[in-house]
């Protein structure tokens, strides 16, 4: 236990060294302070942004978009994915189309979104939902298609109804895949929220940092980036915690 804390502190120390190096580089003015603010100015901008209420507002907007889009997409992805995954004909007919759509960059539908919804909040939300749909949907299809066949036999031997089989066997069996897909969908949601905000100029962290860059307010820009990193970290950790709770029947290996 003490050893672990020791290593933790060690890694914080290494991190602190990196930050100190950053400060030294910034102070040396090797790169103009217009482009590279030091950690001190970044911190200052962070504090100012929170004190003035700018960052909380932007954070709230971005988080709201991201989560709403993600939840809608996940729900749709699970339902549609379950239907497709449980039906062999559906998999045969729709599979290739899904495989074609899998490598499609989610941001490629942004122009289509603009065409359909204009530069609005709806556009950003729809693009987020559409982009976040696919990882969860594909993972769900895989999960439902890969249920251990022996368990289906067990359910037949026990005379379980179709609904009971889906709810008690297929769904829990697919849960690890579904959660992995949802994790990916969350990452996509964050990315598309930022991109959408930048393009549609909707208030949020994305548009915030873009404006900061355009007006050469580098400390605000870097502060915003740090905030986005923190947001990414917290959401990922949150999902990991949920996953660990729901999947504690698996023994985790590194």
């Amino acid at each position: 236990m003490n050893v672990r804390i020791g290593w933790r502190l060690g890694s914080f120390a290494v991190g602190a060294v990196f930050i100190a190096t950053w400060q030294v580089l910034a102070n040396a003015h090797l790169i103009s302070p217009v482009y590279l603010p030091g950690p001190d100015r970044t911190w200052g901008a962070l504090v100012r942004g929170f004190a003035s209420g700018t960052f909380p507002d932007q954070l709230w907007n971005t988080v709201q978009r991201m989560l709403v889009g993600w939840l809608l997409a996940s729900l749709a992805g699970i339902v549609i994915g379950a239907c497709i995954g449980l039906s062999r004909p559906a998999r045969a007919y729709l599979g290739p189309t899904l495989e074609f759509l899998r490598p499609l960059p989610a941001s490629a539908v942004v122009p289509l979104g603009i065409v359909l919804f204009g530069l609005s909040d709806n556009m950003v939300l729809s693009v987020i939902a559409f982009g976040a749909l696919w990882p969860t949907l594909l993972a769900t299809v895989h999960g439902f298609a890969a249920v251990e066949p022996c368990l289906y036999e067990v359910s037949r031997a026990l005379g379980m109804s179709r609904l009971a089989v889906i709810w008690k066997i297929a769904l829990p069996s697919s849960l690890p895949d579904i959660l992995a897909g949802m994790r990916l969908s969350l990452t996509v949601s964050l990315i598309l929220a930022v991109v959408g905000e930048m393009l549609a100029s909707r208030p949020g962290l994305g548009s915030g940092i873009l404006i900061a860059a355009r007006t050469f307010h580098a400390p605000d820009l870097y502060a915003g980036v740090v905030l986005l990193g923190v947001l990414g970290y917290l959401t990922a950790q949150g999902l990991f915690a949920v996953e660990a709770r729901l999947l504690r029947w698996r023994l985790h290996q590194r």
């Binding site: 499609l104 122009p111 289509l112 991109v195």
Partner: protein
Amino acid sequence: MKRAAAVLRGAVFPLALIAIAQIAAMAVRLQSDTLASPAAVLAAGAGAFADGSILIATAQTLGNAFGGLALGGSAGLICGVLLGSSIVADRLMEFSVESLRPIPSVALIPVSMLTFGFGFRMEIAIVAFAAFWPVLILTRSAVSGVDAGLLDVARVLRLGPLARTVKIILPAALPRIFVAFRLAAGIALTVAVTVEVSTNPLGLGYNMMLAEQSLHPDLMLAYLLWIGIVGWALNFTINAAQRRFFGRSVQVRPVA
């Protein structure tokens, strides 16, 4: 015979969709700023091929994607080998890695824009950042997962660290490192297109935005379709290469 049947079955759905869209467009005599019939999309696409614009854009996007992949991937590979080989290094770097990793690559678009302006360097920088992490994480786990028996062999033969890395660790970890690059390649293409869609005025993403802004939905959809094809072709080629070189020993579902 079975393969052919499977392909045909898979084609039914998309072909049916396209046919319905075409018939609907013709029935309604579609003349709009927002939608286009499949025939118009194909025509616009053909036109863009004819005048070379789509090919130039593809070269730009792929060039940026591969440039970033090469840069970020090689850095990720080296760091991954280091962190995978040395528990000390891995533990000490934990905080730094876990702090920088969650930063979404798109958040760095304004930073890169500020530093490099518009153009190739800006995009390659962001792609490199995005490609670095999956390669780092997966290489690290591939290297640390090398069979302990092989490492014992290295010790018994008294191989120095460089020889051990090159002759034992890298070959043993190669299949999984390949998977890492496969994943990173997809990410590289996606990030490149994202950068072009949001800010950078070159490549497929930009051309698509341009078509949308100039009210050419047929051209825009043609670009969208082409991006899908390029993404699919890239994935397909890498999968084929993986099967060719590594056989069925590396069937990793690209889900997580």
